[in-house]
């Protein structure tokens, strides 16, 4: 178990990077708490796996240091860092039995055989493969394979951290749910630091205490699921988290009044926008109320998704999504109001707070 410090990490795959664009990771400078469950969330190619491989030591960062519990491990090998990692596609040593697969990382580290046996049996129970112990690890289903991979990671109880690289991608939706709850339980039981890479927001939000949202080689926000939902620090977070994503409307600001097209919306604070930049207003579809008051909109489409309705409309010439309860009546001349507390103002895509 360890606290992981990422000290100004930058990484470029090509030699001699010139501009920011050459870096797969721009600059990461964060500290992750011991025993935390972190989810790295972001679209494909945003640098999640790169960051993970830097932590595990499979990659050397171009710049910066990694510290475990304050000890510099940047130049240590993967073995020496004592990290477990589970990959997107299950890795099975198929000439060994299931039992030997789980025993492999322990035996490689010279753990005495009685101890190996105890831990492997315990792990077989946890991943529910006790009946398979003596069988060759062949002709297994995808979720059995991934369970063995998980087991190989979890069987070492002294690891500094366990890293998961989209481990549930190849698993059926039903099994995904089961495995995810098993992982959560194991995390509670053993308390290891856990980093979980995914591009699936549901997975990230249900799994982690803290979600780390990555975009274009940098961390745009670290926060609890609620923070990410209510106060996205970057328009990307607003758009990426939530379904449908946050409405982002180009706006002008004068004091505490926001102008969108010809319409005016008043805020309960005056955003601090001293610098000149692109100003946008962000509001989640859940906080847009549709009724007979407020600014008129024209509805283009209504999607019924069961208990909720998603209304696609045009607000001052901008497309907007609105989430409404199933039983809400939509008037013939619909108007919308924004919950002032839920409005976020963005300057050059980054959120700005109130003055003072």
């Amino acid at each position: 178990m360890a606290r992981i410090t990422l000290d100004h990490i930058r990484h470029a795959y090509g030699a001699s990077p010139q501009s920011d664009q050459d870096y797969a990771l721009r600059e990461i400078d964060h500290e992750w708490h011991d025993g935390g469950a972190y989810a790295l969330l972001g679209p494909s190619g945003c640098g999640k796996t790169t960051l993970l491989n830097i932590i595990s030591g499979l990659l050397q960062p171009s710049h910066g240091r990694i510290l475990f519990d304050g000890k510099d491990v940047t130049n240590l090998s993967t073995q020496a860092r004592n990290i477990a990692q589970v990959f997107q596609f299950p890795v099975i040593y198929d000439t060994m039995t299931v039992y030997d697969n789980l025993a492999f990382p322990l035996r490689n580290r010279g753990v005495p055989e009685p101890e190996v046996d105890r831990r492997v049996r315990e792990m077989l129970e946890i991943i529910d493969l006790s009946d398979w112990a003596k069988r060759k690890a062949q002709r297994l289903t995808a979720d059995q394979k991934q369970k063995i991979s998980l087991g190989r990671g979890l069987v070492r109880n002294d690891v500094n951290a366990i890293l998961f690289d989209e481990p549930l991608t190849v698993i059926d939706p039903h099994m995904k749910w089961v495995l995810r709850s098993q992982l959560k339980r194991l995390h509670k039981q053993f308390g290891f630091t856990m980093v979980y890479v995914t591009h699936d927001q549901t997975e990230a939000l249900t799994f982690a205490d803290k979600v780390v949202v990555m975009y274009d080689g940098q961390i745009v926000q670290i926060g609890t699921p609620a923070e990410l939902f209510e106060r996205p620090r970057h328009t990307f977070v607003g758009y990426f988290i939530g379904s449908p994503g946050m409405n982002v409307l180009p706006a002008k600001i004068d004091g505490s009044t926001v102008t969108i097209g010809d319409e005016k919306v008043s805020l309960d604070y005056a955003p601090n926008i001293s610098g000149v930049g692109k100003i946008e207003l962000g509001i989640r579809p859940e906080f847009v109320r549709i009724g007979s008051e407020g600014v008129p909109v024209s509805i283009t489409r209504i999607e019924d998704i069961g208990r909720l309705k998603i209304v696609r409309a045009s607000f001052a010439g901008q497309p907007i999504s609105i989430v409404a309860e199933e039983d809400v009546e939509i008037p013939s001349e619909p108007r919308v109001t924004f919950d002032p507390a839920a409005i976020n103002i963005y300057a050059d895509s980054w959120r700005v707070g109130g003055e003072g």
Binding site: G57, L58, A84, Q85, R109, K136, Q138
Partner: protein, 288 residues
């Protein structure tokens, strides 16, 4: 669904059947025909029954050639397979080195067999050959024309030089098909270099290795051109393998009957061994 019976379809098989008949069945039957007859020339043939087969199976000459051939195949397999694996493991996985290595490896395979023989025949000559003369200058008594051991060593090294590349290329193909995740997982699991080879690389190479063993066995069991060019089967009969013996008998001595009987026995041995390999390969597939 009801099956439509249409025997006209058989006509479509006819061209292939004719081709196979001309290329394989008819020549084979000619050999069978010779193997049961005796001739003293003038195109007159006499029925001999299974006499030639009896003779052949009781001939020391045949058994010795067979033993020599099996020993030869065993030695070159024991050298080429481990060496091929070793080279494949150490070949670069990316960069400019990959095409360079692949071309270098392919070169010996592209040289015509009789040219390979000629190269080594000259290379090993004590008077003008680079190898032979150098060894002689170093005071090592090497002469493949006189000494059977030297002849064997020369023929074996020649075969290793000629064919190890095939094993390398097959193994390399097996190795590059292993996803990076396996090596990364092995690092995470703290596996040693040996464990990586034993549990990741070797299992992934198993199928191509079986093919390599099969191909190298077949080829070495039929070897003719290279040793014929280098040693002509000598000194004495020390490098006379089955096919060299067969050609001596059929073309040199014009003993058509015994040669035909030997051909058939030779053919049956190859058929039997192919079947064994096929069974081993398919049964190992079924286990996966």
């Amino acid at each position: 669904m009801e099956k439509t019976w249409n025997n006209k379809a058989w006509f479509l098989v006819l061209p292939v059947l004719l081709l196979v008949a001309f290329s394989a069945v008819i020549p084979l039957m000619t050999v069978v025909n010779y193997s049961v007859q005796d001739t003293f020339g003038n195109n007159e043939f006499f029925w001999a029954g299974t006499d030639w087969f009896d003779d052949m199976l009781h001939s020391d000459r045949f058994w010795e050639a067979l033993q020599r051939n099996l020993l030869f195949s065993f030695i070159i397999l024991a050298l080429e397979i481990p060496l091929g694996i070793f080279i494949a493991l150490n070949m670069p996985k990316k960069g400019i080195g990959v095409p360079v290595c692949l071309v270098l490896m392919a070169l010996p395979l592209l040289i015509p067999w009789n040219v390979v023989g000629t190269i080594w025949q000259v290379f090993g000559r004590v008077d003008i050959g680079l190898l032979g003369h150098t060894l002689w200058a170093l005071g090592i008594d090497y002469n493949y024309v006189r000494d059977p051991i030297d002849a064997w060593i020369t023929v074996i090294i020649m075969d290793v030089w000629h064919w190890t590349s095939l094993v390398v290329l097959l193994c390399y193909a097996g190795l590059v098909s292993i996803p990076d995740a396996y090596y990364q997982a092995a690092k995470i699991d703290g596996a040693s270099r040996w464990s990586v080879f034993r549990y990741i690389q070797l299992p992934k190479m198993k199928r191509v290795l079986l093919i390599a063993v099969l191909l190298r066995f077949m080829d070495s069991f039929m070897i003719y051109t290279e040793p014929f060019v280098v040693t002509g089967g000598g000194p004495g009969n020390s490098t006379t393998f089955l096919s060299i013996d067969l050609v001596k008998m059929a073309v040199g001595q014009f003993d058509l009957g015994p040669a035909a009987a030997m051909s058939i026995i030779y053919f049956l041995i190859i058929l039997l061994l192919s079947w064994v390999f096929y069974t081993v390969m398919t049964s190992s597939d079924a286990n996966q």
